[in-house]
Symmetry: C2
Subunit: 386 residues, 2 copies
């Protein structure tokens, strides 16, 4: 029934019928049956015309470019037709016809925009008392609803465990590919976390690793990190997690100046070996357009010397020390030992992870890991929600 | 000779010797032989101690975390030793010893910071009269200096051509891997640009494509795009390029309000098919921390309906129309026909590309493409420059 080519793969239920349309100088003012008013500028309506001439129906991509119609284009007529669609006949003769469900979903009056903002997913902050969401490997592999539940927990909580994963090396890839292709790095498609003689990262030693995100040395930190336990006979090596968003949030309240400095002063992260030399200059805390914490970037062992104006240096150290001190506070820390067949999957741009030192002489320890970007997580969620 | 573990894979030549060191309340004030003064705060010096206790020599990564020493730590003594190194003995007994070349390279007095800023690579803007830098496949494959020249042109000019590439499908991967691994996307590791019956993008039709960047639908647009011509017997299909940085720069001078709106108002780009649903909300022009244009994100056929406050909508359309109109201006456009064995490689976050419509009935046309991220380009350049 929905003839709008723009509706591709999504449905736009009728929230409220179109009640009236009033022509104004540069826009149509629409009134809905529930009383809401929404302006739609002429340029916006013409730009979003869903007809087969303006949108190629196979790809559902626009072929019209708005610059191909006059800047002062106005309708000859506008009306609501018998199916409740908004019909516009433009000067020059082109016709556009808009589904009222689609139109309401894209209305940009203040109320409609505020509703959409309110409906966006929100992060659920957590602390030491988190009950880590646990998912079953077979269910996630076979059932798309179980898969969706897992992915929503990753998006909103940012720390999950999967149990019952086969302990054959490489099994990790199968479950990762339930989401998407894997993001390769200089450490490979899958990386092996083992103590190595010629380690090119402290991750590949038996040292304790302080709380960190992986690959802060890249412009885009990996969105999801997978860590799959194949063997864990060594003494020590417990996994520790903190919610970087919760710490940033606490810092914002407890020391606003430190918070601001970590948002504003860029820090260089670097990782070098014989074959690569990565550097990234970015603040430790990143905010989205609405001022909400959207990312934490932190790995003390990959950080370069601070390079800031001398007058800022004491405040930068004060803020940095404070942040690290908070990652060590019991109130934020979740510590668990991972057993063979168990896998961590977490939001690498939010949930900082650490490892206690282990004793390689006491037994074998072998984890495998990989990354998937946030784009892929969000895309898979949207497809599963169709 | 250089005992600093931090110097790993880089050399820090002695620019100027240390002449004197003066202890102040929270820092050492160093004077160099050329007269420059550089402050080094106690926290900064202790944090950057290169000794084997603070930095693990195998990975060259720090094991000290600054929060493990007191915030008010001060030196007992500081002096310049016989080798010209800065030596600090800290309260509590730890010793740090700093290479004067390394120290000068990381000094953060205003002059030293300004010098480093000045030394950063700068984009060379171009217009229709660009002489496209051309490189030879064999040379790039065999000679690391030829490879470096190509990569510097990619970094600074953002549009290059390589000739003599074998026309066997997949050859593209070999030259891309001279830089690094390839960035996969939902279109594959390598993608085939051919007219297809069930196209999931207008790129896979015979339509003209307006000037655009690839994958503006992802948080991180691919840094480099490769387009390799295997067969080109069809009439039409010429490649067109514009320097998005040059256009943004011209817009900034010719219409500052439009420029500002394109920097500030986020726009949604989206790409959907049966298996994926990508969306990214970001401004069309992105500026770096210094206010310089660092990225252009644009593909009209992947753009969603504008969602901005009604009061901003007319100005957003004005700015967007102006930008598209500029991409069509002759002064900015470089148009070339690619022949078999030739390959474009360009900065996908800067250089917008387009294609004229072609006539699939007139002959075969087959291009292959792939992506590599900017991190990988910059890393390879740094390794080649060692």
């Amino acid at each position: 029934m929905n003839t709008s080519a723009f509706a591709d793969f999504r449905s736009y239920p009728l929230i409220s019928a179109l009640a009236a349309v009033q022509p104004l100088a540069d826009r149509l003012q629409v009134q809905w049956a529930d009383g809401r008013f929404s302006p739609f500028h002429h340029q916006w309506l013409r730009d979003n015309c869903p007809c087969a001439e303006c949108v190629y129906s196979v790809t559902r991509e626009q072929v019209l470019e708005i610059v191909d119609v006059p800047e002062d284009l106005v309708p000859n007529t506008s009306r609501i037709d018998a199916q409740g669609f908004l019909c516009v006949e433009w000067q020059g003769g082109h016709h556009s016809r808009f589904d009222p469900g689609w139109l309401r979903a894209h209305a940009y009056d203040d109320l409609s925009r505020a509703e959409r903002l309110q409906a966006r997913p929100k992060s659920q902050l957590w602390a030491t008392d988190l009950s880590v969401p646990v998912f079953d490997y077979q269910a996630v592999m076979e059932d798309s609803q179980a898969l969706l539940s897992w992915l929503l927990a990753l998006r909103d909580i940012g720390l999950t465990q999967v149990r019952g994963v086969p302990t054959e090396p490489g099994s990790l890839a199968l479950i990762a590919q339930r989401i998407s292709f894997i993001r390769e790095s200089n450490f490979g498609v899958l990386f092996n976390v083992q103590s190595k003689a010629n380690a090119d990262s402290n991750a590949y030693t038996a040292f304790n690793l302080p709380l960190h995100s992986d690959l802060p040395t890249r412009e885009l930190q990996p969105g999801l990190q997978f860590l799959h336990c194949l063997v864990n006979d060594a003494v020590g090596g417990e996994s520790i997690f903190v919610d970087g968003f919760a710490i940033a949030d606490a810092l914002r309240h407890e020391d606003p100046e430190a918070f601001r400095n970590l948002c504003e002063i860029p820090v260089e992260f670097r990782n070098k070996d014989r074959h690569s030399d990565y550097r990234c200059l970015a603040p430790i805390i990143d905010l989205d357009a609405l001022g909400r914490v959207s990312e934490v970037r932190m790995a003390n062992f990959l950080r370069g010397p601070f390079d800031a104006p001398a007058a800022q240096m004491p405040a930068l150290y004060q803020a940095y020390r404070r942040f690290i001190a908070m990652t060590r506070e019991t109130r934020f820390r979740v510590m668990r030992r991972l057993n063979p067949g168990e896998m961590w999957c977490f939001d690498n741009r939010r949930t900082l992870h650490a490892r206690n030192a282990f004793d390689p002489a006491s037994g074998a320890r072998h984890f495998q890991g990989c990354y998937i970007d946030r784009d892929e997580l969000l895309s898979r969620i949207l497809v599963l929600q169709r």
